[in-house]
Amino acid sequence: MNNPNSETLIFVPPILATRNNQTPMKFQKILGKLLAFGLLVACARSVSAQMMINGAGATFPYPIYSKWFDEYAKVDQSVRFNYQSIGSGGGQKQILEQTVDFGASDGPMSDDNLSKAPSKLLHIPTVAGADVVTYNLPGDPALKFDGETIAGIFLGQIKKWSDPKIGALNPGVKLPDQEIIVVHRSDGSGTTYIWTDYLSKVSPEWKQKVGTNTSVNWPTGIGGKGNEGVAGQIKQTSGALGYVELIYAVQNKMPYADVKNADGEFVKASLASITAAMATAQIPDDFRFSITNAPGKDAYPIAGATWLLVYEKQKDPAKGKKLVEFLKWAAKDGEKMAQDLQYAPLPENLQKRVLQRIDEIKM
């Protein structure tokens, strides 16, 4: 108690302390410049008096959505879009609470959540992506898998690469007598939703024990945060196997396996085979569809779409009108930009149905 130092201990971060002493003028100048810039931006905004349409939600389609908003600014200069990629959960919550003009989600909304909506909420599918099975084996052999085997591995029942089930699918490939180290996403994500949705469809045991969600209680494996976390772990671990988004695997030149689809064909994941899956999948009228394990010879089985969420009855007619115009533009012209950004566009039959649905939005 009689120690004077510790009684009056007040912590000042040394960085702040030295900086403030040395360069107060500089700091003020920068602040001044920032303020001036802010004012300028504010003026520019108020002069053109643009309409702001706010959206929030899924992170997976964020790159293409921001491209769309950018391009659409050239089409219609009177409207600006502000999209916050806060995650599908946040997107659903915000549109339910009507704090945004549209939401976005990587998974369709559950009946339970949809019943909380104050009025009818529409699902508008925009683009699709896929999950691929990627792995790290000596020599990077090309591999083939079927749903049953993948489920077995992720349930922790198939433990070794030399398991006869993997061998039977890959005749001629020399598989090491090595433990399979399963890597999955630890963060809640649309990627995991597609993955678990697929496994639930091909394995009754998975459906009963684990189920479908953006994050689940994994029976085995280690969790990496984000695509980069999973990919990093797989790249560094011989014998590792996991799933990442197709785009991520392509951009990082990771090997990925062909997967057997519902028709018994081994299909390589590609934008074309994702669009093929959407063309042949059963799509209900409310567009809350799943295209995993879709029928059709060319369909890649582990794929999923992403949706925009908008109210059928728009509260603000002026905003609603602009939003509908944008949605139509996105469904027609926007779709053409999808492939450049490695998203699968909607097939023609679905595109037509989506346009009809957009027409049903009332002001």
């Binding site: 108690m1 009689n2 120690n3 130092n5 510790s6 009684e7 009056t8 201990l9 007040i10 912590f11 971060p13 040394p14 960085i15 992170t59 806060i86 995650g87 599908s88 959960g89 946040g90 659903q92 919550k93 998974g107 909304m109 559950s110 339970d112 959540n113 433990e179 180290i181 630890s186 963060d187 809640g188 994500s189 649309g190 684990v210 189920g211 479908t212 969600n213 953006t214 994050s215 689940v216 209680n217 994994w218 494996g221 280690i222 969790g223 990496g224 945060k225 980069e228 976390g229 990093g232 772990q233 560094q236 671990t237």
Partner: protein, 331 residues
């Protein structure tokens, strides 16, 4: 954050009585100043309560549904909506302890070197370097962890630990690289600068008289440092450690990237783990159902509770330790 300001409270309580004695001619400025500072101090306390209250309110459903079981069960299943936070609590405490075990000796030794031993021209560059470590964003450190630290740990130190201590339950099992130990090490790197900086300030504030007195008695450099400096500053150094602990408990992004995010309780430090902060960071954005969100809020509440509890325990420890020290320092 609230740790360090606490010791100044006893001094504060004496001031009003002194002030009232002296200020017969009314001084509005002093009064206003007193009220203003009081309001500020109360605002901080109110903020803490507000956070706690908000977290508790946000997790009502989960608290009602799982009750005490939330703290004692290990299943975290968003599909079946079964939530138990025990593995996260375990992971938070263990990873923070690992971090402290690594960071505290390193930081204090660095601080001692910087204040007592280092030649003057070395001091400023070294201090700046350590402060730069604190300026590295958590995400960057996490990425570095995945792509640089983990491969290295997996190649050299981990196998060595396994051959040396593989017979204990703490270093057995397969080495994935991603592990509780890796999480602890990355936290250690993150709390090192703050403990070092604060320790350095404390050691610098040890009066030179102390050192001179020890030298006068014929003490060697090591004896001076030990008896006159470290012993004198013990309480303050403990404060620095608490500050580090507070950081360690809440550290999120970098840990999430290297700890493996598997809700399990394993004695082996090579096994992946999970922390309270990580599960919130991982799952909050995509949590769609009410109960799920509320369970995550409750995880936040538990983390809040653990942080406060850890601070309280640490402060009691300091009190008892300080009692023992002062008598020895005087001798």
């Amino acid at each position: 954050m609230n740790v360090v300001t606490r010791p100044s409270i006893p001094g504060e309580t004496e001031q009003p009585s002194l002030a009232t004695q002296m200020s017969r001619p009314s001084r509005f400025g002093d009064r206003a100043f007193e009220w203003l500072t009081l309001a500020m101090a109360l605002a901080v306390i109110a903020l803490v309560f507000l956070v706690g209250w908000q977290l508790a309110r946000g997790s009502q459903l989960a608290i009602a549904k799982f009750g005490f079981h939330f703290l004692t069960t290990s299943t975290w299943d968003p599909v079946a909506e079964q939530y138990g936070a025990l593995p996260f609590i375990y992971g938070t405490i263990v990873s923070s302890l690992i971090a402290l075990i690594i960071a505290v000796p390193l930081s204090i030794a660095t601080a001692v070197y910087l204040t007592e031993l280092a030649p003057l021209w070395v001091r400023q560059p070294l201090v700046s370097l350590i402060e730069m470590l604190a300026a590295i964003p958590s995400v960057i450190l996490g990425l570095w962890g995945i792509f640089v630290m983990i491969p290295w740990l997996k190649a050299h130190p981990f196998p060595l630990l396994k051959t040396l201590f593989g017979w204990t339950p703490f270093f057995e099992g397969p080495i994935y690289g991603i592990s509780m130990l890796a999480g602890g090490i990355i936290i250690a790197i993150m709390i090192l600068p703050i403990i070092t900086s604060v320790s350095r300030e404390i050691l610098r504030s040890v009066p030179n008289l102390q050192r001179e007195a020890a030298y006068a008695l014929g003490a060697t450099r090591w004896e001076v440092t030990r008896i006159a400096v470290l012993s004198y500053a013990k309480k303050g150094l403990a404060g620095a450690v608490i500050l580090g602990l507070g950081r360690a408990l809440g550290e999120t992004m970098a840990v999430t990237m290297v700890i493996g995010n598997t809700p399990q309780i394993k004695a082996s430090l090579f096994a992946p783990g999970y922390t309270l902060a990580s599960v919130i960071a991982n799952e909050f954005t995509e949590a769609t159902t009410d109960l799920y969100l509320q369970a995550l809020f409750e995880v936040g509440l538990v983390l809040f509770g653990i942080t406060i509890l850890a601070n309280l325990i640490a402060q009691v420890l300091i009190k008892t330790m300080a009692g023992a020290t002062t008598t020895r320092a005087v001798q």
